[in-house]
């Protein structure tokens, strides 16, 4: 049985880690971070949940199967590439536009960010698939 302290702080930590991971993902284009690290951080968040509770509850929390996440990730990457193609450029060519966001002013949004989101999901899916799998061997 994992320690009570771990169980108590896990929900808070997970929430923080998820926020950090999304932050890392979104700032990645300008500052250190990005899809890969972000994916690893959120995978770590759910791994913490596995350690504190058990695999079935983590799977419930996750809602999506890790394999599906991998597939979604790769599809998103492809989609970001195809968008460049549809915009009249080459496959994977970046397409950017400035979107006004309340409180932040104009924000650059482009297919590379979408690309990073795909990497994020793929990495998260891959790591979690293995960790959940290994953890299930213990039960």
């Amino acid at each position: 049985m994992p320690s009570l302290i771990l169980r108590a702080v896990t929900p808070v930590l997970i929430l923080l880690l998820i926020i950090v991971s999304i932050y890392a993902l979104l700032r990645g284009h300008q500052e250190p971070g990005g899809g890969f690290v972000g994916g690893l951080i959120i995978a770590a968040a759910f791994s913490l949940h596995v350690l504190a509770y058990d695999v079935p509850s983590t799977r419930r929390l996750l809602r999506v199967a890790p394999q599906t996440l991998m597939g979604l990730g790769l599809s998103t990457i492809l989609l970001s590439g195809i968008l460049g193609l549809l915009a009249g450029g080459a496959f994977l060519e970046g397409v950017w536009m400035a979107v006004p966001v309340p409180g932040l002013g104009l924000v650059d949004v482009g297919t590379p960010v979408l690309f990073d989101v795909g990497v994020y999901a793929a990495v998260m899916g891959m790591v979690l698939m293995i960790i959940l799998m290994v953890a299930e061997m213990n039960t």
Binding site: G34, G35, L40, G94, D108, D116
Partner: protein, 762 residues
């Protein structure tokens, strides 16, 4: 022309669906497809024949390499196209009945159409690389067709033999083509300059490599053994591939490249002698077989040798003879193969010693077979006679080696007469049948093909002018200069006519002599054949398999440490060797500061600890210490992205370790000295190599252009200030896409491995 060839391939794609929808009539539809191709080129034909006009068509394909989908139609292509499409159509009709009970008939049509399309592309191709692609496609599609009964090991083996022999030859040919393109600067066959090639220092290598392709494909001695083996294929396939088309691809290549490569002493010697040897060996082996299809296959080998020999002689008479003989052979051999298939289909055996007196029961098939056999024997008034006459004329007028070639020609012709009697007289006349099933006449779709081909042999024999200028146009294309040809059934009393008559007579006498001794001949031939080139092939093949098994045993031991050892040693050798060559190395350790030194000491200490400790947890901790130290080094050099990634990977590694830790066995004891000492040596060498490499890379590549480029372009072009990320998701996004895919595939691999382990553990 392009669309005509493409339409066949499209047909191949749709074949299975069409067969399912249409049922039986689908065969007739597919038969119409090649005929349609033939019709589509008809508008070009009159001017082609009258003025020797060559039709070109092309589409860009690989512009960066100067390769285009170039096709051209001249007399030679037209003859082959007519044979491929005409006989092909008959084969489709024949097969629709022959294989009607086969559930996979649709797939059969698909393979056969693929083959037809490849052959059509092959004979129309003007670009050498297009020709090569079509050439290999015929090998692949015939592989699929020969292995049709893939549940029988003999069929699989036969198909593999054919694929390997023709495939290896094809690769040699490709090398020859590359040299040819290098020495002429052109990829279009029609633009090759023969003089330039023949004077080039590369001439001999080109000749040998291209001939390797032609000889293997056309089953020339000593590569002829694959062709009789290929008789494992269903008969319609044999009739098509191995008498009418595929094996003639080699002959076609020789003819096509005759203006480029022919006319030299080397060409004459190699092509003529190999052809003559094949002709004689094939004929001898043909009369010593019992199986109808094998008899026919060996006689095909003989005729292929004959055609090759004529192309080697290369005089105008020889080329004309080759064209006429080629047409004659395709007509009668297609017919004979189909009648052999009919016999097999209706009686259940192909053993000529058991088939007798079937003419009364199968009159139409018998008539077709007899007509085709008369043509094959070279007797008047069939078309084969004209071919035989021209053949004798050309050989007797050969510029050199006249006596040798003459004897070989007469000898093999006599034996081919025996073959003709054997395949057409034996099964249909004399005695009563002792076959497993007593047959009745085959259905029309099965005698249509042989009858049409036999009738064509007869018509063209009686009225060769109906062929028009076609043979002349083909000869013109082969020779590269005008060579009109007038064919007559009767051309006066001549020594050649005497030789023809004597050949026929000798053949019939020889048949009488050999009759009744088939068993002994067959045994002798089988014993002799066991020592032939097939034995070399089989030994080489077995050797290859043994080598593969040996190296698999060596390399795929199933022990992780062996895999690691092989990987590490290979890296050390491949990376270390160039490193040694650049000695002395200029390495400087200036600029190293205290924090880095401290971290280095920590890493070294932790590394030493992992090798000494007996506790798994301590190993994990030590590895973690190494990882964190490396991360700190990244931080010192302000590679924050790397540091972040490193720390996350470390954290997750610890999680996985914790999860698997109590699955691992305890350390019972350390490896014995004879294991760990070599391992230690290897790892020290590996570590030193990598360390040297890294130190060198910083001194060897001081060129800042790339990083300056990314810094300069990162924000304006990719809207990002983090150039690591900009490179990953924008400048080199394709690489990242590949890596992400690899990552996912590797993940699935790990998943699968763990699943296996779990099932085994349960």
């Amino acid at each position: 022309m392009l669309w005509a060839v493409l339409s066949i391939f499209i047909g191949a794609l749709l074949a299975q669906a069409l067969q399912r929808v249409l049922g039986r009539p689908a065969g007739w539809l597919f038969a119409a497809l090649p005929l349609g191709v033939l019709v589509s080129v008809m508008p070009f034909v009159p001017r082609l024949l009258a003025e020797g006009e060559v039709v070109h068509a092309s589409l860009p394909w690989i512009p960066s390499l100067g390769v285009e989908l170039a096709f051209s139609l001249d007399g030679l292509s037209l003859v082959f196209l007519a044979l491929i499409c005409g006989i092909g159509a008959l084969i489709f009709i024949y097969a629709s009945k022959y294989l009607q009970s086969d559930r996979r008939l649709g797939r059969f049509y698909a393979y056969l159409l693929l083959f037809t399309g490849s052959m059509a592309g092959l004979v129309l191709a003007d670009d050498v690389f297009v020709l090569f692609v079509c050439w290999e496609l015929t090998s692949v599609s015939s592989y699929l067709l020969i292995a049709w009964d893939h549940e029988r090991p003999e069929a699989r083996k036969a198909a593999l033999t054919a694929l390997l022999v023709t495939g290896v030859g094809g690769l040699a040919m490709l090398a020859g083509f590359v040299l040819l393109v290098l020495s002429t600067g052109e990829t279009l066959i029609s633009r090759f300059s023969g003089e330039a090639v023949r004077e080039s220092p590369l001439y001999l290598p080109i000749l040998i490599l291209v001939l390797a392709g032609a000889f293997t494909k056309s089953a020339q001695f000593p590569f002829s053994f694959w062709l009789p083996r290929a008789m494992e294929a269903p008969t319609p396939v044999s009739a098509y591939l191995h008498s009418a088309t595929m094996v003639k691809a080699g002959v076609y290549l020789l003819a096509r490249l005759h203006p480029t490569l022919g006319g030299t002493r080397e060409w004459f010697l190699v092509v003529t002698l190999v052809g003559a040897a094949t002709m004689v060996v094939g004929a001898v082996l043909a009369v010593t077989q019992k199986d109808l299809k094998r008899i026919l296959a060996q006689s095909t080998v003989s005729v292929l040798g004959l055609l090759t020999m004529l192309l080697g002689i290369g005089t105008r008479a020889a080329i004309s003879a080759a064209v006429v003989y080629l047409i004659a052979h395709s007509l009668y051999k297609g017919a004979l193969f189909m009648t052999a298939g009919t016999l097999d289909h209706e009686t259940g055996t192909r053993d000529v010693t058991r088939l007798r007196g079937l003419a009364r029961r199968m009159p139409v098939t018998a008539t077709a077979a007899v007509l085709a056999a008369i043509s094959s024997a070279g007797a008047p008034p069939l078309f084969g006679f004209l071919g035989k006459e021209l053949f004798y004329e050309a050989v007797f007028a050969s510029p050199s080696m006249r006596a040798l070639l003459g004897v070989a020609a007469v000898l093999s012709s006599v034996l081919l007469v025996v073959v003709s009697v054997l395949v057409a007289y034996r099964p249909f006349f004399g005695g009563s049948p002792s076959a497993p099933r007593i047959p009745h006449e085959a259905p029309p779709s099965m005698w249509l093909g042989p009858s049409v081909l036999a009738a064509a042999s007869l018509v063209f024999g009686l009225a060769p002018q109906w062929l028009g200028d076609l043979p002349g146009a083909a000869a013109t294309a082969i020779l590269g200069r005008p060579a009109p040809l007038e064919l007559h059934l009767w051309h006066g009393f001549s020594p050649v006519l005497g030789a023809s008559a004597a050949t026929l007579l000798a053949g019939v006498v020889l048949f009488r002599v050999l009759s009744g001794r088939e068993e002994r001949l067959f045994d002798a031939s089988t014993r002799l054949g066991a020592w032939g080139p097939a034995r070399v092939y089989d030994a080489a093949f077995a050797g290859l398999m043994r080598f593969a098994a040996w190296q698999t045993r060596r390399l795929q031991t199933g022990h992780l440490r062996h895999y690691l050892l092989v990987t590490v040693l290979t890296t050390v050798v491949l990376v270390g060797a160039p490193l040694l060559r650049s000695l002395p190395l200029s390495i400087s350790l200036r600029g190293v500061e205290l924090p880095e030194l401290v971290l280095a000491v920590v890493i070294l200490g932790a590394a030493a600890m992992t090798t000494r400790t007996l506790s798994r947890l301590a190993v994990v901790a030590a590895l973690g210490a190494i990882g964190v130290s490396v991360m700190l080094i990244y931080v010192i050099f302000s590679a924050l992205d790397l540091a972040l990634t490193q720390i996350m990977v470390e954290a997750l590694t610890v999680v996985i370790f914790v999860l698997v830790l109590h699955h691992l066995p305890r350390f019972v004891n350390r490896s014995p000295a004879r294991v760990w000492i070599p391992d230690a040596i290897v790892s020290v060498i590996f570590g030193a190599t990598v360390a040297l490499l890294i130190l060198m890379s910083s001194t060897l590549y001081p060129d800042p252009t790339l990083s300056e480029y990314f810094v300069a372009k990162g924000y304006p072009e990719a809207h990002g200030r983090n150039i690591v990320n900009v490179i990953l998701v924008d400048f080199r996004a394709m690489d990242t896409l590949g890596e992400a895919t690899v990552l996912c595939v590797a993940g699935i691999g790990v998943y699968a491995l763990l699943q296996v382990g779990r099932r085994r553990g349960a």
